[in-house]
Symmetry: C2
Subunit: 347 residues, 2 copies
Amino acid sequence: MKLKEFAKQLGLSPTTVSRALSGYPEVSEKTRKRVAEEAVRLGYRPNVNAVRLVTGRAGAIGVVMGRNGEFQFSEYMSGMAERLDSEDIDILVTPIAEQGGKDESQLHSRLATSGRVDAVIIHSPMPKDERIALLHRLGMPFLVHGRSETDVPHAWLDIDNEGAIRRATSHLIDLGHRRIAMINGRAGLTFSLHRDQGYRKALEQRGIQFDPRLVAHGHFTDELGFRFARSFLEQSPRPTAFVAGSMMTALGVYRAVRSFGLVVGRDISVIAHDDVFPYLTADNMVPSLSTTRSSLRAAGVRSADLVLQLLSGRPATEIHELWPVELILRESTGPVPHSDAIPDKAG
Amino acid sequence: MKLKEFAKQLGLSPTTVSRALSGYPEVSEKTRKRVAEEAVRLGYRPNVNAVRLVTGRAGAIGVVMGRNGEFQFSEYMSGMAERLDSEDIDILVTPIAEQGGKDESQLHSRLATSGRVDAVIIHSPMPKDERIALLHRLGMPFLVHGRSETDVPHAWLDIDNEGAIRRATSHLIDLGHRRIAMINGRAGLTFSLHRDQGYRKALEQRGIQFDPRLVAHGHFTDELGFRFARSFLEQSPRPTAFVAGSMMTALGVYRAVRSFGLVVGRDISVIAHDDVFPYLTADNMVPSLSTTRSSLRAAGVRSADLVLQLLSGRPATEIHELWPVELILRESTGPVPHSDAIPDKAG
DNA sequence: GCAGAAAGCCAAATCGTTTTAAATTTTCGA
DNA sequence: TCGAAAATTTAAAACGATTTGGCTTTCTGC
């Protein structure tokens, strides 16, 4: 059913019908109501592609998915979907072309110029992220999920990674731990840097020497969690506590600790960052895992919301949100064992 | 840069340019080459929405994402993305509206009639799935990832869930296990039914009585894995082996077994289904986990491929693919302990 | 050298909306 | 009752491509 045909059935012109449905004020309330009702009854729905052509809007938000299907991805998307449910806006997932920075820029520029999306969400930015400058230059609205140090003005939503890890590390120090290992995310990404900073600040505040041999970077996989944790535990003196970057990493750490005949929560303390997944919960781990917690799904919901605001004209420079992160203490953290305790300078 | 303008610069008509770029035969090779080169040089790219309007194609494949962001989702998507990389086709992720079957149908029908997508992929179908009849009725091409018993002809891609679980269960029986518990996926979904059938057939073949108290259904979460496994282990006599529906389920089972002071691979055998995730690998679990393995990413790649075939005219009735599933034996499966052994009828 | 076929190119119609500018009708104060 | 202002409605022009059908050239075989 086309607009023309539908309008004829109503005895109105296409113009009036279009206006009635789009909520323009120049149409009488009586007519609008009739049009709306008939549209439902006759099942008229405007052709999306025609609308898009004439309005120049794409009706979609673009998300670029990394090559290595991160497990977090679907949770965030799920949140976005929840928010966009009521709007007439789709989520366009774009395949990432090749590995390496060059192609990623090219991909974003193609996405931005293709007219397929009205806005783009950038994930896991780096401090100097060329994607940000690129999208800005192309005039494509975008939201950064995470943070960047670029001086290009842009909208962003991030969690307080630094504060989270600082508090987590501080808490471990309070428990008497002095050798605290850190298994962080991929090197070079802003959130990894922030977490590193949080870790170092906590140590600094308590006068503990930073030891680069206790820090590792990499993808959030159980495998890396295991390998890094094992290599740390082989050191002498070994660390008595771990800060793990993700739930998957924590799984690997738990296994590594066990493989040394040690017990998590007694011999070795562990805190991990938890994005709150329905399928893997910190509470159910044995022992239950202390976490820095922030709902990724909630971030997805809010991201979608902010992008909508951006599209309706709110200036990008106004949109900066930094979410606090909870620290949830459970059984995986405990006082440093006596045998491992290192006397304080004062002690 | 518009087509008209671009054509003028080349001294050609829009018609010829359009044809040259779309690979129609009515244009000389020399001209085609020149047009292609100039398009790159001048950065001309056809307006997507105009193309879509006139061709009636949407240039996107729709995927409906469940409310509870399954962790598998991104891996499958990632595979699709890999395949669609070279094509000019997007993946459109549609928020699922509300819970409950009614709204899901409505959602699919809106998606199908909205003109936003050229084809749809349906996940986790049920034997009588109304979505299939609906899309068929609406004339929207679709691929079912999984299987259904509906008599509506349709394209599908599935893995041999029944065979996989049958072999897994048979193997456990070969090892002497007689009380084998099964933690399956959500009740009512076809793949859960197939797995149930595989499980029952294996028992039947060896004359082992099916015990409904050893089977559970639910989402693939560590929590359910743990809870179900614990409740099974409280039975007397307790099961000596588990078949787990997913890696997350297996994590829960491992923990439950340990919480009883038992050892996986010695006291209790475990086999789980593994979709092959980069972030959680069966090989790295302790003990390493025996699995029925099938790459979900590969399924995503192939799904995209099949949808493309569907769109280029291959009849849906021709597209039926059933993938075999590997059985990988690792340390989590072993002979039934002597104390638990139940003498065979013959023994 | 010529007719007919094939190759290469083009003008104009089309896809289904929104929106501009103009026309019509209604309202209302004097 | 009239005329201006306000409220509705409309015809027609975009939006930017593809595609139909026709129009020129260039080959081909005799």
